[in-house]
């Protein structure tokens, strides 16, 4: 059994990444099912907006963990709904705070925000964080992710967000230092706007902005620590034996290495194995062979598992168990 697939330090997090249509959902469901059968309490979460985890299990899923078999629970996150709910909540908050909202037209800003670039990535990260925060309820958490591009950006976010948070904390500290100095001479200062009086905070513990910044940093650090810890996280790439998925996997491998996120396994899915060949298929099989050789030379220190193309679509628990057995290994 591969040690990076089972819990070592608390719970284990597995991310299945790959190009669209290579079989991420099936592979992750298969792995989750097999791990659950081995006695690990497993949660599989689909954060892919094009949900098909339910289709693989042949069940309706929602945003609450649903028991599939013993030890295996599945859920699907509806990102669009999450984003809407999240913005709504924030808007309420803001309206309450800004009495003079109409003056600077923040309402318009909110309308625009839900279409702002990157909001989906942030919402996905938020969703992952929430699940990880309750991670101790599980032995293993499997994430079925959206196609590589989005997932890589989501996984890179914690580090980028940390840089932002640190820089903003720096500027904020400078502001508070100035305020403190002025306060020492002038005494406590008030800030009056639209007839409302606010005290100007000068202490880090008093300043709501600083508190929020620090809280945010803490939350992001929590996620960052988990996804960069090889004892907690493993990324598994799923790909087909073709050149384009190979290039994409290579890029993913490089950028995950850059962000120090442990990339451990490649599942080569849908390998054609035929005894009698027509000439057209022969070309395809030759190309496949070339890719298989390339993979071995390109990904050092990464395990590779081959899964053949089956005659029928692998759906339902029996099929999943068969594939899962090959991935997990005994």
């Amino acid at each position: 059994m591969k040690e990076y697939l089972i819990p070592k330090e608390g719970f284990r997090v597995l991310f299945f990444i790959g190009k669209g249509g290579v079989g991420k959902t099936t592979t992750s469901a298969a792995a989750a099912l097999t791990l659950a059968k081995k006695g690990y309490k497993t949660l599989i979460v689909s954060i892919d907006p094009a949900h098909n985890l339910g289709d693989v299990f042949m069940l309706e899923l929602n945003n609450k963990p649903k028991r599939i078999v013993e030890n295996l629970y599945a859920m699907e996150l509806d990102m669009e709904k999450l984003i809407k709910a999240y913005l709504k909540h924030l808007e309420e908050n803001l309206k309450h705070m800004y009495r003079y909202l109409t003056v600077i037209n923040l309402e318009k800003y909110f309308e625009v925000l839900s279409f702002s670039p990157g909001i989906e990535e942030y919402a996905t990260l938020e969703a992952i964080r929430e699940i990880l925060q309750r991670g101790d309820e599980w032995d293993i958490i499997v994430f079925d992710t959206p196609p590589t591009g989005l997932t890589l950006r989501v996984l890179a976010l914690p580090r980028i967000s940390l840089i932002w948070a640190n820089k903003l904390i720096e500027v904020r500290r400078k502001i508070l230092e100035r305020r403190k100095a002025i306060e020492k001479i002038q005494g406590e200062r008030k800030f009056i706007i639209e007839g409302e009086e606010y005290k100007l905070p000068s202490d880090e513990e008093e300043d709501a902005v600083m508190k929020e910044l620090k809280k945010y940093k803490e939350e992001i650090e929590f996620v960052h620590k988990i996804i960069t810890n090889p004892k907690k996280t493993a990324v598994i790439a799923v790909m087909n034996p073709e050149m384009l998925p190979l290039y994409e996997t290579e890029r993913a491998y490089e950028s995950l290495n850059k962000f120090k996120i442990p990339f451990r396994l490649i599942v080569l899915n849908k390998i054609l194995e035929l005894e009698e060949l027509s000439s057209k298929l022969k070309v395809k099989i030759e190309a496949q062979k070339k890719v298989l050789e390339l993979i071995k030379s390109k990904f050092k220190g990464v395990d590779i598992i081959k899964i053949p193309m089956f005659e029928e679509e692998p759906r339902g628990l029996k099929w999943l168990e068969k594939i899962g057995g090959a991935i997990i290994g005994d």
Binding site: M97, I104, G118, Y122, A165, Q186, V209, L213
Partner: protein, 89 residues
């Protein structure tokens, strides 16, 4: 008489106090302006920090946004302001 004298000294010293923190307050305002600008940067094409972080900070940014708006209005005469601060006439 005594009351008047007290009021005079109070005014006298507070003028000194105000003068002594003038530069500091200018710096503070500028930093607050920058802080708000960075957070709302997407409006003017500055790469913006994580959206989640921005919207979480917004409710507490009443003053900074107010300062930013005022700065934007005064922007046309920023040299005038600096000149006034250094008493260049």
């Amino acid at each position: 008489m005594f009351e008047n004298l007290k009021a005079f000294f109070k005014g006298f010293f507070s003028a000194f106090k105000a003068q002594s923190t003038e530069y500091l307050e200018f710096e503070e305002r500028e930093l607050e302006n920058v802080f708000a600008l960075v957070l709302m940067g997407s409006f003017v094409g500055i790469p913006s920090p994580p959206t989640t972080l921005v919207i979480r900070l917004m409710p507490h940014m009443v003053r900074e946004i107010y300062v930013m708006q005022r700065r934007a209005e005064e922007m046309d005469d920023i040299f005038g302001e600096i000149a006034a601060m250094f008493e260049i006439t």
